[in-house]
Amino acid sequence: MTVKRLKSAGGFTLIEIMATIVILSVVVIGASGYRYYAALDARKASMQATASRIGLLLCESWRGVNGTDTYDPVAQFSSELAITENLNLNNYGYKDENFTLLGNYEVSINSTNYCAILSWRDVATGLRAVNIVVVWPLQDGYLQGSPYEPFELTTYTTN
């Protein structure tokens, strides 16, 4: 008596399918990771660009009034920007001791709070240095306790 053994039908085994899924998952998750970090870096770059623009905006405006120590960015920009003076913010170690503090200001743009530290110093008769440091958190949310980045700008004006 001969017993014919049936050949297994063509197809994939469970192991083969699972291995394929794992390989596909690795590839797709890898590609997604690349795009995620690209988007994250773009956001960081956007925040840095915004901080530099805030610094430049305040610097050019303050310079326009010869760096006077009565300059008030809140009065000037409160109708265009969400800007407030915040005495509770510290200087994050970015104000030079030789400079006199004009004020700490909080600017909120796209759900990110930027802290602008304005200070000045008379370096010679009739020549004033104005310094602006903009500090912002690397993560969304409030500045306090978060990792942060600084952007610093110093310029000179006659007064």
């Binding site: 008596m1 017993v3 014919k4 053994r5 049936l6 050949k7 297994s8 039908a9 197809g11 469970l14 399918i17 699972m18 899924i21 596909l24 998952s25 797709v28 998750i29 997604s32 795009r35 995620y36 690209a38 988007a39 773009a42 956001r43 956007s46 623009r53 430049l56 905006l57 305040l58 050019e60 405006s61 310079r63 326009g64 009034v65 010869n66 000037q76 920009f77 265009e80 920007l81």
Partner: protein, 169 residues
């Protein structure tokens, strides 16, 4: 009489199929969520950098800065309502007096324009459109610095550009 005994046939059992299906569904769902989030983030960032509102704002700021930073702080005119600003500058390094003007204004077509011209006698040389999608444009000055507050909107995205430039000459 010989009787053929059925042998084990190749294929999946019901249990294997169910496990495979559940696994495939879980993996597919996970990948779909990751892909959707990734795509949304990518799209958001792309719009934040390359949308016409953003590039319009960038163009406006660049032109405003370039013109204002070479302008004279001694003389300028601003509309009482802030609708336009006119500044004066030297044509080149050999000019001995201020001989050019530039006038920024927005029009009814939601465009920001700049008009360049000569002085003495006054003659318009060119009118350039800087950007579109302008829904609000205000100019003001603080000492020798001028500010442009530009509101841009293309129907799906809006942005406010606040720029300040110091008039150096």
């Amino acid at each position: 009489m010989s009787r053929k005994k059925p042998t084990v046939r190749g294929g999946f059992t019901l249990i294997e199929l169910m496990i495979g299906t559940v696994l495939a569904v879980i993996v597919t769902l996970g990948i779909s969520i990751i892909l959707a989030d990734s795509q949304r983030g990518w799209h958001t960032m792309y719009n934040r950098i390359y949308s016409d509102v953003v590039t319009d704002g960038y163009s406006a700021r660049r032109v405003f800065d370039n013109v204002l930073r070479k302008a004279s702080g001694e003389k300028y005119f601003v509309d009482d309502a802030g609708g336009w600003i006119e500044v004066y500058y030297y044509a080149d390094a050999n000019s001995t007096f201020v001989d050019r003007y530039a006038r920024f204004f927005s029009d009814e077509n939601s465009q920001l324009n700049v008009e360049y011209g000569k002085l003495n006698p006054t003659e318009t040389q060119a009118i350039q459109t800087i950007c579109g999608n302008v829904t609000g444009c205000t100019f003001k000055t603080t000492g020798r610095a001028a500010q442009m507050i530009l509101t841009l909107d293309n129907g799906t995205q809006s942005a406010t550009v606040v720029s300040s430039s110091f008039m150096h000459n």
